[in-house]
Subunit: 600 residues, 2 copies
C-alpha cells in the first residue's frame, strides 16, 4: 500500500518539457531555482509517502462518521492535517504577503499530484481550501482577504465551495439559496447545499464556506447569483473565533469512493439565518466562480494523474510478486512472475504511458499558467493564457477519464485478488469514478472546450497549438535517429495522423458550432478525448526526442522513457482517427441524435 513519488519523472517533465528555466526567470520567482524545486519535491515525496499514503486504505475502511451534526474523520487524519499545515504545504503557490511561499504553479503541481496519489480523500480538503483562497484573492475586499486568507494558508482553517443544490447540479441558474441584506451590511443566508466536499469535519478550528446565493431582487438565472463567505464560527476583528454560525451539516453521503472525504448536506439558516459576507459585487458570483474554476478544474485533472500513478505502482508491484503460469515463448518450463506475461506487460505499459502522457500535458499547462500570470509582456501573457485556458478542460477531462481506465486495468492486473477489497486495487477504481463528474462533468469540460475555447476565437488558439505540434513532427523527421529507429517511425506516423485528426476536429467545430450546434456537441467529448490523446502524445514525442539525445547519461531512465513513448505511439495515438470519425459524423443528424426520447 506504499506510494513512491516519481520525482525523477516529475523533474524530467518540469525541466525538459515544461520549460522550467523560462518559468524560473519570471518576475517574482527569483527564489524558485532548480535546487529549491528539487528540494521541495523531495520533501513532498517524503511527507506524502510516509504520512498521507499509509492513511489512504484506512480512510476507505474506516470512513468518517456523522453524529448530531459533527463529523469525525478517519483516525490519523487530524494529526496528518496538522503536519500538512505545519509543513506549509497549503501555501505553496499562494502569495508571500498572506503567508504563502509564492512558488510557481509548475512546482506546486507535482506536489499536488503526490498528495492526490498518496490520499485522494485527504487531498480534497486542501484542494477546496485552494479554491476558497483563490475566490477571496480574486474578488474579496481587503478586509475579507486579511481576515480569512492567512488562516486558510496556515491550515488553521479550511475552505469549501458551495454551489450544488438538489435541483441545481450542473445548471447553476437554478440556485435557490437566498441571502438577505441586514442593517449592518452583512447578509442572512438561507438554503440547502448538497455535495459539499469536506463541508464538515474535525481537522481544523474553523471552516470557511464560499456560498452561491441570490439576493431578493436579483435577476433570474446565472446573472442573479452572488458569492458569500459564511464561516462555521464567527470571526472577531482580532481573528478570534466567536459563536457558532447558523450552518449545520445535516447528513453526509454514502458514496462509491473517496469515502474518507465527508460529502456534506449543509443547511443554512434554520435558526434565524447564517451570517454571510458578500464577496465582490452583487450578482457577479458566477463570474468569480469561473475565474477560480480553471484552477479547480486543473486540480481535479491532477487528481486523475495522481490516482492513475498510484494504481500503476500497485499493479506493477503485484505483477513483480505474483507467480503464475509459464511464459508463452517457452523460454522456461517454470511458472514466472506475471510481469513476464505479454498481456500483463501491455496493461502495465498502457497504465504507465497514459499516466506519463497526462502528467506531461498537465505540467506543460501549469507552465503556461505561470507565464500568463507573471511575464513582463502583455501580449506574451495573453498568448499563454489562451493556451492555458484551452488546455484546462483537456487536462481535467482527459486525465480523469483515463484515470478510470487505468484504475480498472490495475484491478485487472490483480486478477481475482483485484476484486477483493482487502487488496486495495478496487479502491482506486471506486475513488477515480468521481473525477469525471465533479467540478464539471467531462461533457461540461468538452462543451467549454468546444464553445469558449475553440469556436469563440475561430480555432485560433487550437491552431497555435497545432503549429507547435508540427514543429515536433519536423524535429522527429530531422533527427538523426529518424532513418532507422522504429520508435521515431511509429511516433512520426501516428502523431502526424493524430495531428491531422485534431486539425479536422477543430475545423469541424469552427465551421458548425453556430449553424448546427447539436452536430458539434454530440461529438464534444470525442473532441476533448482526441485533444487529450494527441496533445499527450505530442508531449511523449518531445520526451522521445530528449530521451534519445540524453540516453547515454542515464540509460535506464531514458531507455524506459523511449520505450514508453514508443508504446504510446503504437497503442494510444492510433485511437485518434476513430475519434475524428465520431466528431464529424454528427453532421448527418442521424445515429444517436435520430433516436426519439421514447425510443430510448
Amino acid at each position: 500500500m506504499t506510494y513512491t513519488a516519481p520525482v525523477k519523472d516529475m523533474l524530467f517533465v518540469i525541466n525538459e518539457l515544461a520549460g522550467f528555466d523560462e518559468v524560473a526567470a519570471l518576475p517574482g520567482f527569483e527564489d524558485a531555482g532548480a535546487e529549491t524545486t528539487q528540494a521541495v519535491l523531495e520533501e513532498a515525496a517524503r511527507f506524502n509517502g510516509k504520512v498521507l499514503a499509509p492513511l489512504n486504505f484506512e480512510g476507505d475502511k474506516h470512513a468518517n462518521a456523522w453524529r448530531d451534526g459533527q463529523v469525525t474523520t478517519t483516525p490519523g487524519f487530524k494529526e496528518a492535517f496538522r503536519q500538512f499545515a505545519e509543513g506549509g504545504w497549503q501555501g505553496l503557490m499562494h502569495p508571500v504577503e498572506f503567508g504563502g511561499q509564492g512558488l510557481p504553479k509548475l512546482v506546486a503541481t507535482p506536489c499536488m499530484e503526490m498528495r492526490n496519489a498518496a490520499n485522494l480523500s485527504f487531498a480534497l480538503c486542501p484542494l477546496l481550501t485552494d479554491g476558497a483562497i483563490e475566490a477571496l484573492l480574486t474578488a474579496g475586499s481587503d478586509e475579507l482577504k486579511q481576515r480569512y486568507v492567512p488562516k486558510l494558508i496556515s491550515g488553521e482553517w479550511t475552505g469549501t465551495m458551495n454551489l450544488t443544490e438538489p435541483q441545481a447540479g450542473s445548471d447553476l441558474s437554478l440556485v435557490r439559496t437566498r441571502a438577505e441584506l441586514q442593517a449592518d451590511g452583512t447578509y442572512k443566508v438561507f438554503g440547502t447545499k448538497i455535495f459539499i466536499t469536506w463541508g464538515e469535519h474535525d481537522m481544523a478550528e474553523n471552516i470557511v464556506h464560499l456560498v452561491l446565493a441570490r439576493t431578493p431582487n436579483a435577476p433570474e438565472g446565472v446573472k442573479g447569483i452572488s458569492l458569500f463567505v459564511v464561516p462555521k464560527f464567527m470571526v472577531g476583528d482580532d481573528g478570534s473565533l466567536g459563536t457558532r454560525n447558523d450552518v449545520y451539516c445535516v447528513s453526509i453521503e454514502h458514496k462509491l469512493g473517496i469515502k474518507a472525504s465527508p460529502t456534506a448536506v449543509l443547511q443554512y439558516g434554520d435558526h434565524g439565518g447564517a451570517t454571510g459576507y458578500l464577496v465582490g459585487e452583487e450578482n457577479h458570483g458566477l463570474q468569480y466562480m469561473f475565474i477560480m474554476m480553471n484552477a479547480s478544474r486543473f486540480a481535479v485533472g491532477i487528481q486523475g494523474v495522481g490516482v492513475a500513478d498510484r494504481a500503476y505502482q500497485k499493479a506493477a508491484a503485484y505483477a513483480k510478486e505474483r507467480v503464475q503460469s509459464c511464459p508463452v515463448d517457452g523460454s522456461t518450463k517454470q511458472s514466472v512472475t506475471i510481469i513476464h506475461h505479454p498481456d500483463v506487460r501491455r496493461m502495465l505499459a498502457s497504465m504507465r504511458a497514459l499516466t506519463e502522457g497526462a502528467r506531461a500535458l498537465a505540467y506543460v499547462a501549469a507552465a503556461h499558467c505561470d507565464i500568463a500570470h507573471r511575464h513582463a509582456d502583455a501580449a506574451t501573457r495573453a498568448g499563454h493564457q489562451a493556451i492555458y485556458e484551452y488546455l484546462v478542460p483537456v487536462v481535467k477531462g482527459w486525465s480523469t477519464e483515463l484515470s478510470i481506465d487505468v484504475a480498472s486495468l490495475g484491478v485487472q492486473v490483480h486478477g481475482g485478488m483485484g476484486f477483493i477489497e482487502e487488496t486495495g486495487a478496487a479502491q482506486y477504481y471506486r475513488d477515480a469514478r468521481i473525477l469525471t463528474i465533479y467540478e464539471g462533468t467531462t461533457a461540461i469540460q468538452a462543451n467549454d472546450l468546444v464553445g469558449r475555447k475553440t469556436a469563440r476565437d475561430g480555432g485560433a488558439t487550437a491552431r497555435v497549438i497545432l503549429a507547435q505540434v508540427d514543429e515536433t513532427i519536423v524535429a522527429l523527421e530531422r533527427h538523426a535517429a529518424y532513418a532507422a529507429d522504429p520508435a521515431f517511425k511509429s511516433m512520426h506516423r501516428h502523431l502526424s495522423a493524430g495531428r491531422d485528426a485534431l486539425a479536422h476536429g477543430v475545423d469541424f467545430v469552427v465551421a458548425n458550432t453556430k449553424s448546427d450546434p447539436n452536430a458539434v456537441f454530440v461529438g464534444s467529448v470525442p473532441y476533448l478525448k482526441l485533444a487529450g490523446i494527441v496533445l499527450s502524445g505530442w508531449q511523449m514525442a518531445r520526451a522521445l526526442l530528449v530521451a534519445t539525445d540524453k540516453q547515454s547519461d542515464d540509460p535506464s531512465f531514458y531507455g524506459a522513457k523511449r520505450a514508453t513513448a514508443h508504446f504510446f505511439s503504437d497503442h494510444i495515438l492510433p485511437q485518434a482517427p476513430a475519434l475524428e470519425a465520431s466528431i464529424v459524423s454528427g453532421k448527418s443528424g442521424e445515429g444517436g441524435l435520430a433516436l426519439k426520447e421514447e425510443q430510448f
Copy 2:
C-alpha cells in the same frame, strides 16, 4: 430499480439474425416452435422483472452473512430461488430425460440474459449449477448422473466449480488439493479451495461441489488433475440426504461487487477427509473442465450483456426524468430533461449500441452451438462447432469488457447522483468489474482466441467468418438504399475497414504465433477486442438491412434499430484500425515489451 426485459429485441435477434427457423428444425427441437419461444421469453421477462430484479439492490445493501461456517443469504433470496426452481428455469436447456426441458441454447440464452440483468448475484448460482450439470453429463458415470443431475435440474440442490487455490489462479497446473483412493472406491479429499461462488448458502438442501484435485501418484502439472464430486451432505442410494461431509466454508470474501453472491473459502478434509467420487477417468479433469468451460465462458459473456442492458435502462430512465440546463441549440430557454443534451444522448446511444451488438453476436453464437450439437450432418456440425468455438472467447471477453464501460457510462449519465450508492447506478459499475476476471481473464480468453482458435487451424475458421462478413458488405452495396442512405454509407465504409483490420489481425496471428509468440500475445487482447467490435458491427449491419426492409411494419422499433446501427458504425466500428495498429506493432519487440522488469 426496475428491469424490463427487451423481449422485442431478443425476438428480433433470434428470428432475424440468429436463424431461429434453422435451429427449430433441428432434430430434438420439434417442440421448440416460435410460439413456445415467445411464451417462454415472456414468462421469463415476468419472473425476472417481478421476482429477481427487485432483490438486486437489496442484495447489494444486505449482502449474505457468514457465521460459524453457515452463510445466510439476503432476505428474499431463498423464496425467490424456490420460485425459480419451481418454474423449471434451471432445466431450460438440459435433457428431458433428467427432467429438463431440452430447449435450444438460442432460447435459453435470452432467459439467461434476463436473469443476469435482473440480479447478477442471484444468477450466478444457476450459472454454476449449469456448469456442474454439464460436467456430470459430459464425463460422469450413469450412476453419478442419475444420482445428482435430476436434483440439480429440479433446483433442490445447487452446484459449484472448485478450481482455484491460493497459489493456483489462472494456472491450474499448480493445484495441490489431493484425493486419496479408499477401499470402497471413493476418495478422501484434502485441501483449500478459494473463490468458490455460491460455495455455501441456505437456498437449497444440498450443494454438489465439482472439485479439481490430484491423486497421489498423478503426473505433475495439468496432466495430473482429476475431477471429483464432493457433496455437502452425503447422498443415499434412494437420493435421501445423509451425514454432513467434511467440507466447510471457513470464510467468505469482502468484495467490490456481486455482494449477494457468497464467495467461499472451502476447506476439505480437516476432519478426516471429504468423501468424493471420481468423475470420468483419473487425470482427465482438466479436459472435462475445458469441455464445459465453453458453456461457462459463454454464460459469463451473457452476464456482461445483461448487466450492460440493466445499466442502460436505468440511465435512460434517469435521463428522461432529470431536468437540468437549456438545450445547446437554443430551441427553448427552459431547462429540459437531460436526454435532450447531445452528450447524454451520445452516452445512452453508446450504451445501447454496445449492448445490442453484443447481444446479437452472443445469440448468433448460441445458434451455432445448437446446430453443432444437433445437425444431422457431421461436416455441418463440425463447421458450426468451429465457428462457435471461435466466438466463445470473443463473446466472453468482449461482452464483459464493454459491460464495464457501459456501467461506467451509466454512472456518468447520473452525474453526482451516480456516485451516491443509494442511486444504484454504482452497483452495476462494481458488479460488472468481476466479469472480465472470472472464468478466465480477458487475456486468457484472448490467448485462447489466438492460440487454439486462430493459429491452430491456420486462420481457417476466422476466414470462414470473414467471408460471411464480406457477404454482408456486398448485401449493403446491392441494397436499393445504398445510394442515398447515410446509415448504409457509414456502415459500408466502417464495416469494410473493420473487416480489413480483422483480416490483417488474423494474418498477423497466423504468421507469427510460432516464430514470435511474444509479439502476438502482447496484442492478443487488442485482437479479441477487434474481433468483438467487427463481428458485433457485422451483426448491426445485418440488423440494418433487415430493419430497412421491414421499416414500414413497425416504424418505431425498426427506426430505432436503424439509428442504433448507424451510431455503431459512426462511433464504434472506427475503433477497429487502432486495434489493428496495436496488434501488428508487437513485431518490433519494442514499446511495452522493451521495458525491463526493473524499469516498471
